[in-house]
Symmetry: C2
Subunit: 336 residues, 2 copies
Amino acid sequence: MKIAVDAFGGDNAPFAVIEGCVKALKLYDGFEVILYGAESEILAELEKYEYDKSRVKTVNCTEIITCDEAPTVAVKRKKDSSMVRALEDVANGKADCIISAGSTGALLTGATLIIKRIKGIKRPALGTFLPNHNDGSVMLIDCGANTDCKPAYLLQFAVMADAYLKGVYNIKAPRIGLLNNGAESEKGNELTKATYKLLEESSLNFVGNIEARDILTDKCDVLVCDGFDGNIVLKHTEGLAHVMMSMLKKELMSKKTSKIGAALSKRAFRNFKRKLDYSEYGGAPLLGVNKTVIKAHGSSDAKAFASAINQAIKIFEGNVNHIIEQGIDDMVITGD
Amino acid sequence: MKIAVDAFGGDNAPFAVIEGCVKALKLYDGFEVILYGAESEILAELEKYEYDKSRVKTVNCTEIITCDEAPTVAVKRKKDSSMVRALEDVANGKADCIISAGSTGALLTGATLIIKRIKGIKRPALGTFLPNHNDGSVMLIDCGANTDCKPAYLLQFAVMADAYLKGVYNIKAPRIGLLNNGAESEKGNELTKATYKLLEESSLNFVGNIEARDILTDKCDVLVCDGFDGNIVLKHTEGLAHVMMSMLKKELMSKKTSKIGAALSKRAFRNFKRKLDYSEYGGAPLLGVNKTVIKAHGSSDAKAFASAINQAIKIFEGNVNHIIEQGIDDMVITGD
């Protein structure tokens, strides 16, 4: 298995990306890495580490796509960028999957234009994982690829996430929930009401509407929503966790006894923070395109990047795309 | 000022409601309370307290609207329910405002049907408050009254919240933010893109798009969104705070030193929890109807109910509805 890595995507590129690849090479077997970007810089960085050189290749690219560029324009114009070259090599079979911590918009657009959608898929979607209160996690899909959605898209998001959890985690019948403004079946806006019916009629293990207060309470394995709401849930989780920790810290520091308490509980705080840190889960898979595409978090460190590589291996070995194709074939989905 | 209180609405009715009224009578001046519901039970409950009897009246009602009834049907059929009778007395001028901790749907429907909308208002909306990291708060509107919205509704929500903050908190130019999936002006779904333009053209102090990660970081005083997303933000805040606290507790209890730490930090935890507890802020005002309507949280205790009464007084004295009328008059709003 060959993994194309956009070495110049992300806030900590190329350093964290390359360190993450080296880390992954030591931890996991059965794959090679192709690093895309300014070759001289990549090689200089690789010099710092001990690793199996036979498993690493480089491809020199002269351009970088930045996060403030318009995605479609960037993908079309910057033909020699690390991201586009990597996407093209995945499309033409020189690599099996791509990981990038670069511009989300460019990766989505690039993957759809260059790698192309799986037959029958209306819109590829981005999945991500949030921790739940039982030390497990819930896959949120779509977490930002499609702002305006139709019911048929959401049904397909469910089919794709179902395939992911079956292939990667070997879950037999993932519990599919629909993010809604009430648990009762008749609740919702136009989109979720219509989606409810489609999910109910499908062969998926649909467990009904999930209120936002139950996102993290292990009521479902997959939480389906449009990309606008997925973005809100994801970013509100980040923001609230951050604000809560700083409010709590302020409280703990305001009295002498609790200051001692805070010092004693330091490790617990750290462990807790790590649980919430979704970089632990690797990256966000873009589901619905013909190859494995993983969007690593922009601020990924080496560890997060190594997790993303591990995730790519699991998706590939779990035949996720094949299960998606079967799921789409089995389903009559109407609407555009 | 006369406050109509639905004594039989909410999980802890009539006990917490009546205790809350007595508490408020002691704390605040210049208002009377009219309690609607089974008179004998109300009087028996009142017997328990010392209070100024000249400031309390009761109106006997034989019915109660429950939370599992269809709102429109319940409001139309249960003419002698505590909620409908209270609404009618507000509509006909026997009282100036209504507070209920009962069915949100029935209160919204009942207020719109019986008290009626302010002239020019397309959809009344429910506002609520979330704490921010600077010990302040942000008003989230609409937090659940309207699941499917048009841009013109959202503009009016902003006008109403602006009036509320001007009237109740004397904020000169409340910062109005639009909940969106990116901070840049071009971001959004169809609804938020169109709303952005309306807000930009308005005379409001529009501060632009607010990403969900910044909901609690004091970037705005009012956060405008449709009732579907408002519900998600509100309930996810509740859910996440709960899950985070229990995850943290588990972490703290897993080691001896942090167990001692947790014991020492108990008070800090309690204070922190209180900050997140939005019952502190009173209830959720329903803005856009001809009188003051407050939806108290279903699980309101006496303290939360007393806060809601204090809030009703401030809305009334702050002439919020008058400011809303002016705001709507000043604005040419098209669309239905």
